[in-house]
Every structure is written in C-alpha cells, then in structure tokens.
Symmetry: C2
Subunit: 274 residues, 2 copies
C-alpha cells in the first residue's frame, strides 16, 4: 500500500488526482492544511504527498510555492486533473430551498459566473469535499456545497447543477512530493526556485542560460521574498532533467546570477493533451 497525504476531507480533488496517478492501491492520509501534508512527508509518516500547484482559470496556489521553498522535499511527479464542480445538496432539497452556498475560496473563484447568476449567500469553507460532509452532518436543507461528483457519491448526496465552473477548460495541476527521487520518463520537467539581488536586468540574465541551452520554459511564478519587501523569488518549470549535462551547465550559469538557487526536482511530465 502506497501512503499518500493530501489536504482536505475524503472525496477531495487531490484524492481523485492521487487515485489517477498511483492507481487504486493507496492508503490515504487526509490533512487539515497544505503545511500538514509537507510535515507528514518530511516526518516520514507517508511516502508521498499530493498538493495543487496551479489552476488553469485562477492561477497559482501560492501557499504551495511558499511551502516548497521552506520544506526539503522533492517534486517527483505531476498530475493534471480536469475539474468539474457541482452544486450539491441533501436529498429532497431543490435550488429554490437554498439560501446559502458553502465552498472553498478556489471553488468560489472558479464558479464565479454561476454563483453570480443564482445570487445566494456565499460562505467560504476550508475544503470542497468537507463542505459536502458538513451540510450532510448538519442535515442543512437551506444550504448547498460545491465539490466533485466523486464527493457527492462518497457522501451519498444529490447534484442540483453539474459542471458549474466558469470555463469548461478548467484544469488543476498537482505536484507529487516525496523524500525519494523520481523515476524519469520519456518527457521530463525540472522545477527550480531562485532569488536575485536586484530586479534590474538580472531576471533577463537568469533566463539567458536556459534560453541559450534551448530549454523550454513551461511556467514562471514570482512570489515576494517575505523577509525583504518588494524583492521577489522566482519559480520556474522547464523541460529537461537536472542530471542532463546541458541542463547541469545551464543551471551552473544561472546560479552565478542568483543570490540563491534550489532545485525542487526533475520528474516525468503529465502527457495529458488539453
């Protein structure tokens, strides 16, 4: 049994992504926060953790990036999951009965058009599947929750409206983290994080070795350096493996331009074609 930690209650999108990534033979450890996922991995209580990293509609999950900087884990894989949100309620409850929708802030953002249209009170909730569990346990007949079909099935609840996300091309990308190294695939990605002394021409200088080595950038994310106002830390994903001599050489040149560089991992790219 592979042990995998994820944030949320049973039925979470992270759990679904893990099932697709690892197959069925998994012992899950639901966690209250992303930080707890990282702690379970670094304390060797689980072999793997799975955390969302970005959504195609709302952008990066910034907490994940901060944790990747502060915990020593490897990114050993990625999984892209098609996200279909549903409005879920107790059996026998219909839309006019609803006065309040419980939902994770990410789900609220991703379903903004639908929520504006139905015009109900919105209450942020820490977890998608958890919000379904909550309205079931409290037997609320004037409330609904936003979560996956999988969550509706697990808690035996009714779907009032399906695919309520604003854009049908709604995907979330997850990182699989571990203390292990990953097995490489046919097509691989590497994720790095670095900071630069001053922003002037230095970001350009940092990208130069990667561009010259022909390494394709697939993502760039800037986050504030929490100790230095208005200074930024950059996260990059590019195609390639850190042990490849060309990549190694480019990273040595890049490091010379930075005040700090950390390689977060090389791992097989998800081959899902969107």
């Amino acid at each position: 049994m592979i042990q995998v930690a994820f944030q949320g209650e049973k039925g979470a999108y992270s759990e679904e992504a893990a099932l697709q990534y690892f197959g069925e033979n998994i012992a899950f450890k639901p966690c209250y926060s992303f930080q707890e996922v990282f702690e379970y991995v670094t304390d060797r209580k689980v072999e793997y953790g799975i955390v969302p990293v970005e959504n195609s509609y709302t952008g990066s999950i910034v907490d994940t990036f901060d944790l990747l900087l502060n915990y020593n884990v490897n990114i050993v894989g990625e999984k892209i999951l098609r996200i279909k949100h549903n409005l879920i309620a107790n059996k026998g409850v219909s839309l006019p009965d609803i006065s309040e929708v419980y939902a994770h802030p990410q789900a609220i953002a991703q379903c903004d058009v639908f929520l504006k249209k139905i015009g109900k009170k919105i209450t942020p909730f820490y977890d998608t599947a958890g919000s379904v569990k909550y309205i079931k346990e409290k037997k609320l007949r004037n409330a609904a929750a936003i979560a996956s079909r999988y969550a509706a099935e697990i808690y035996d609840m009714n779907i009032l409206a399906e695919s309520i996300e604003s854009f049908s091309s709604n995907y979330t990308r997850f990182y699989i983290i571990s203390l292990k190294e990953s097995v490489k695939g046919l097509k691989n990605k590497t994720t790095i994080v670095f900071s630069i002394k001053n922003i002037p021409g230095s970001l350009y200088n940092c990208l130069k070795p990667l561009a010259e080595a022909g390494l394709n950038l697939s993502k760039i994310e800037s986050r504030p350096d929490r100790k230095k106002p208005w200074e930024y830390i950059f996260y990059l994903d590019f195609e390639g493996v850190k042990d490849d001599p060309i990549v190694k050489q480019a990273l040595i040149k890049l490091e010379a331009e930075t005040s700090f560089l950390k390689i977060l991992g090389s791992y097989p790219a998800d081959t899902l074609i969107i």
Copy 2:
C-alpha cells in the same frame, strides 16, 4: 472635492492610502468589490479609483491584475502604505472572552503567526473595516476583528492587540486608476501587460529590448490566460515613461515578440523608502 472609489467599508486601508495620496479634500465612494471600483471609474461616476495591487508579505492581489486587463483605465499613480493590523473588539471585551476572529482573507494570511498562537476559530469576512463594523452592529462579545487603528477609531472600538502582522515590514502597494492621464514626476514607472505565443524562449526575447534599453524592471507577475489553459499573461513594472523615445523604441520591439500588448499607464513612483 475629488471623488474616489475604493473597495470596502469606511475605515478600509484603501481609504487610508487615498487620504495619504490625495490629502483631505475627498468624497469617498465605498464599493462592494474591486470590479465595482473599476465600473465606477469607467462609468465616470468618480474621477479616481484606488485598488491594492500587492502586499510585501503575501504577494499580488490577483483580482486587480485580471481587472486591469479587462477594463480600459489608466494607472495614474501608486501609493505604498505601511500596514499595521490590530485585533479589535467591543469595549469591555478581553482576549479570553473571544472565541472567533472575523477577518479578510488577506489579513488572515498576513497575521498567520499571531492567529496560530491564539488558536481561535477564524471566519473569513469580505472586508477588514467591515468586520469591525459587523461585530459592533451585532454587539458580539465573543468575537474580534482584524483591521487598522483608523477603523478602530472610526467605529469607536477597543484594540486588544496591536501590530499583529507576522512581519513588521508589511506594506501594501495601491494603484490609483482613472480615465485621465497622469501628471509625471521626477521618477516614474510604467506598467504593461502582454501575452506571448508559446512560453519557450519568448519571455526571454520579450525582456531583451527592456534590458538592452537599460530599463529597470521593478515587478513581474504571471497570470493564467483564462481562455487558454497553461498559457500566461505577464504584467511588468519598469522605471521610465512611455513617451520617452528610448522607452517607445523598446516597447515597439517588445510588441513584435508578443501576441498582444497593452500599456496600462506611466505614473510617478512612490518615493517611500522602506
């Protein structure tokens, strides 16, 4: 009287920033959302709007960036405000009485260390000053709110703990938006937004004309293109004015590398030294 729209209730940090930026002679229009601020400006109901753009601890306010892309307004100024959060309650209420803290998600993130320490239930609220107004109106004696000293004064409430932000170097940067053009200062900034066809070497190619013209980048932000999964839109701040011949030339070269470029404005840089 200068008319200024901002998001939040009377006593919001945005209002404080506007007071510092414009001086005292202002007619304020509090708005429910950032989008409403943009609508008030484009509908000519107010001359100016003020919106937060980034915090030195938590990073960019992503909604603002999405709105800057979708509304035709100019950025005509910036204001950097030192943010001091306070735990605020009704008079006669002390910390042990409190079981719940109402706060804006940004304030929750910025006070994470303090909130973890006191270990009370946290309830997200749409507005900082609004959360103070709420616990006052409801006469809650088991709840506190997180907001500025200014909000505590306006609503005549008690401060239970002051400067509860995790880092003392907590600053928020605001943009002042308008349909007008700005008056230039001694030191100016320009903000642009662009998208590129494919990420490969193209970000590097976009930064090249700016680096070659010696224009200092002071911020870069990537946001997903909501219509194209995993494609990114980039926001850049750099030092200089769009009408300067050197800047003009660099922007023409940059535009040739992009699939779309929009100049959001040139405006005097805030001279606050942090």
